[in-house]
């Protein structure tokens, strides 16, 4: 097994070894989709949005994946700086450590997205399952970028987790169909993924432009995450 694969596998195991973390990675998407979605329609209506029915279940799956992956990526960067620098200095190199970290984040993002998607499928069914799966994964990967960026800028765990919460709150409150108000704050990081997911939830396909926008936001997020992991692993000596 290559050193890169060994490091990536270890980074995944690092999080899954804590049984409660593993349980939360499964329970929170189920909670969001099954329980939270049941009241989200009333919530969206109170906010003056138009979202209801299948769309609320779908968007809650995306939000669950987003928050879990954002917090996970933040703690990956902030808690592992010392170990990653030692790994890089020991011969793995900062770029390989960063690639292994991002591979682990993507694997965990896929796990979380798969749980959210399967819960959604079982609970309410979905007209465009492939579109919905891609959109939920996009939520997860965009927040890998958000969490890693915050982790590279903020060292304190309390400050960082509050910042992840703040970005998440801005994103949720300004999401498409959640509110009738627009403005600058209506362009949150997951906006394109949310547009795609709501369309899939309501049984509509999405035009090519929407797919391109989602692909671009994921690409930007993963590039930012790679940079953040690389900066964290780079030796300051």
């Amino acid at each position: 097994m290559s050193t890169f694969a060994l490091a990536g596998g270890s980074f995944v195991r690092e999080h899954l070894r804590a049984r409660l973390t593993l349980a939360m990675l499964v329970l929170i998407p189920v909670f969001f989709v099954v329980i939270f979605a049941s009241v989200l329609g009333q919530f969206a209506k109170a906010l003056g949005g138009t979202m209801a029915g299948e769309a609320t279940s779908a968007i809650s799956a995306g939000w669950a994946a987003a928050f879990l992956c954002g917090a996970l990526a933040f703690f990956q960067v902030s808690s592992s700086r010392g170990a990653d620098r030692r790994l890089a200095a020991a011969g793995l190199g900062a770029l390989h450590v960063a690639l292994a970290r991002i591979a682990a984040a993507i694997v965990l993002g896929i796990v979380v997205s798969a749980v959210a998607f399967l819960t959604l499928l079982v609970r309410s069914g979905i007209a465009h399952p492939a579109h919905a799966a891609a959109a939920i994964l996009a939520f997860a990967l965009v927040y890998v970028g958000v969490g890693a960026l915050i982790g590279s800028l903020v060292a304190g765990p309390l400050e960082g987790s509050l910042l992840v919460v703040l970005v998440f709150a801005v994103d949720v409150f300004s999401g498409p169909s959640m509110t009738s108000s627009g403005g600058v704050l209506s362009y949150g990081p997951s906006r394109d993924a949310a547009t795609l997911l709501i369309a899939a939830g309501t049984g509509h396909g999405s035009p090519g432009g929407d797919w391109l926008a989602v692909a671009a936001s994921v690409l930007v997020a993963l590039t930012v995450a790679l940079g953040a992991f690389w900066l964290a692993a780079r030796s300051r000596a």
């Binding site: 329980i35 009333q42 209506k45 910042l163």
Partner: protein
């Protein structure tokens, strides 16, 4: 309070002061969440149940502000609890080794945690005051303080037994379930369900609803329940912290 306890408390506040981003976020997060939720909510009519059996016709806009204030207080105070506990477990053992009594180190942490919680409560209530005037500010504010005093030690307990990521996830899960859904009069028939009293925010949320909409006080039971939760959690976190910092001393 002994000189050593004063020193530990002063050091705790100095540590907070050296983290300006934390202070900014303790203000910005609740302020944003409360302001934004009130600003974007439609004034749709909504009938809710009050403690004591009465009902009142209000609007989703008014309700949302009060509920989001409680949610923001619980989540931010809970996260403060998680990470203050982690910092205490890392640093306070050394203080005990250096000659501090466990109680002195613990008291300093709890004072810092309480001040963080009070700051979050104050910001949430100030922002709420811009949009909503409750029937009784005293009861409404007391309910906010009780939510902070319940969730801050609850977060500290989670921080003592879980790693940072698990504790953060669990905090989100508990707050969303408890205040966000189960106690939330915006959903269902506007009255908490049968199982609601089992969760920690039942008491303070009912006191908050009572303070928001009822001139006479009808929430003696929920107030006593809140005080019981507060006392039990503060006692549990004090004992746990003392044991944790002393065990390695």
């Amino acid at each position: 309070m002994s000189a050593r306890a004063w020193t530990a408390t002063a050091m705790g506040f100095r540590e907070q002061r050296r983290r300006p981003l934390l202070l900014i976020l303790l203000v910005v997060v609740p302020a944003y969440v409360v302001t934004r939720s009130i600003a974007i909510t439609e004034p749709t009519p909504r009938r809710i149940g009050l403690p004591g059996g009465g009902t009142v016709l209000t609007t989703m806009k008014e309700l949302h502000g009060a509920i989001m204030a409680g949610t923001a207080i619980a989540f931010v105070a809970g996260l403060c609890g998680v990470f203050v506990m982690h910092a205490a477990l890392a640093g306070d053992r050394r203080l005990v080794l250096a000659g501090f009594r466990p109680g002195e180190a613990v008291r300093a942490r709890l004072v810092v945690l309480a001040v963080d919680a009070v700051l979050v409560v104050a910001v949430s209530l100030l922002v709420t005051a811009l949009y909503f005037t409750p029937a009784s500010w005293l009861r409404f504010a007391a309910a906010g303080v009780l939510i902070g005093l319940i969730y801050a030690p609850l977060g500290a307990l989670l921080g003592a037994v879980l790693d940072k990521l698990s504790a953060t996830y669990l905090m989100l899960f508990i707050v969303m379930t408890d205040i966000g859904i189960v106690q939330n009069p915006m959903f269902g028939d506007g009255t908490p369900g049968r199982l609601a009293p089992l969760l920690p925010a039942y008491g303070p949320t009912r006191v908050m609803v009572d303070g928001a909409y009822s001139a006479p006080f009808h929430a003696t039971g929920p107030l006593l329940l809140s005080l019981a939760w507060t006392g039990a959690l503060l006692l549990a976190v004090t004992l746990l912290l003392r044991r944790a910092v002393a065990a390695h001393g």
